[in-house]
Symmetry: C2
Subunit: 208 residues, 2 copies
Amino acid sequence: MSAVGSPALPSPHVRAKRRRRRAEILEAALRAFRDQGYHATTLDDIAARVGVRKTALYHYFPDKEAILYACHRESLLEVGRLIEEARRGYGTAAEQLAHVIREHVRLMTDTLQGSPFAFDVGALSPGHERRVIAARDAYERQLRAIIEEGVRRGEFAAVSPKVAVFAILGAINWIARWYRPEGPVGGAELGRQFAEHLVGGLTCRRAR
Amino acid sequence: MSAVGSPALPSPHVRAKRRRRRAEILEAALRAFRDQGYHATTLDDIAARVGVRKTALYHYFPDKEAILYACHRESLLEVGRLIEEARRGYGTAAEQLAHVIREHVRLMTDTLQGSPFAFDVGALSPGHERRVIAARDAYERQLRAIIEEGVRRGEFAAVSPKVAVFAILGAINWIARWYRPEGPVGGAELGRQFAEHLVGGLTCRRAR
DNA sequence: GTGGAATTTGAACGCAGGTTCAAAATCCGA
DNA sequence: TCGGATTTTGAACCTGCGTTCAAATTCCAC
């Protein structure tokens, strides 16, 4: 071990093992919260999905709310990238918006990482709730900016960007409530159909 | 009182009073469930909104789940009428769908009666859950039928009616998560914008 | 006015679930 | 191998909340 009186850092191997366990717990929690809701999900539920007793969870997370917050954080990291990718990869607002929709749907269906966007934030501590809401607001503002640009360029009808974003996010977030990966429609195809429907509702109306 | 041995029916006045109290409890519960979710709402919460102690609620409902189920039933009664009205009042699929969307949005925003559509059904007893799901499925089938007819007539693009209905209901149900009646957009205007966006996304694409 | 019905109340109970704790088991680096 | 670190466990604790109960209060129909 290291010098006397100086606590040793765990080895890289032990740190990696701990990270894997945390990731496993978070994935189990994410699925449980998505299936049943935060309040209806018990620590016993999550622990059972991992294969341990619930008291083991306290070795990795201080409490249940911290698990929920970690799920939110991972989700926000994922969606945070979508806008940058859209801006970099596409020239028109319609293409950018379609990309974000497709990718957001993929997060809801393939990795389920987008599911926390559908979670109520009321179960978070006040500080955590503020942070999650701030990040969600930033994402929504970026979506609104894309729509505003589309309206300005004449690509989109003169809609309220705020209302349009709520409608789009509502359609996407609701996927957590009904989509099952074993169903007949794959995530990519679902994303394509959602993008056509939701972007189409903006682009075509300008012709009237 | 009535004849010995024969329990008296309450008078019309007492029955009316009882109905008003039940309606008051259901409205308070509906708002509390919508604001906080079923599990995070306590009977103390609901009772406080009514102005009684929680034990008084047991005079009108056998338990907490019965209150939730009654909220669902009222909501389903309301939305059940939308399709009939749409079929009677409009000739094209686009007009019918637009009407249902506008009116469903109104239920979400004005009376809040549509909010239970956004609630998870997991908290209901198995029997109640089956009934609520059956009624929701019937509503979704009717929406799909409108869209199928629109596709058949060439009014709508060749979309998957199932996916389109999920997208539409997702956008509408999500209103319970963000809409506040004191905000700048009224329910009627919101309904109009949602109808334009969501129906527009179906009608225009057939031109391509 | 009054007896009975209806409604509400405060107190109490029981239990589920989040959390703590100390001991046991497993892992790991030297 | 082995001592110490890490992880997991079973037991226990505590609290919040749904529910029950008996008594008190209010309402109502005659």
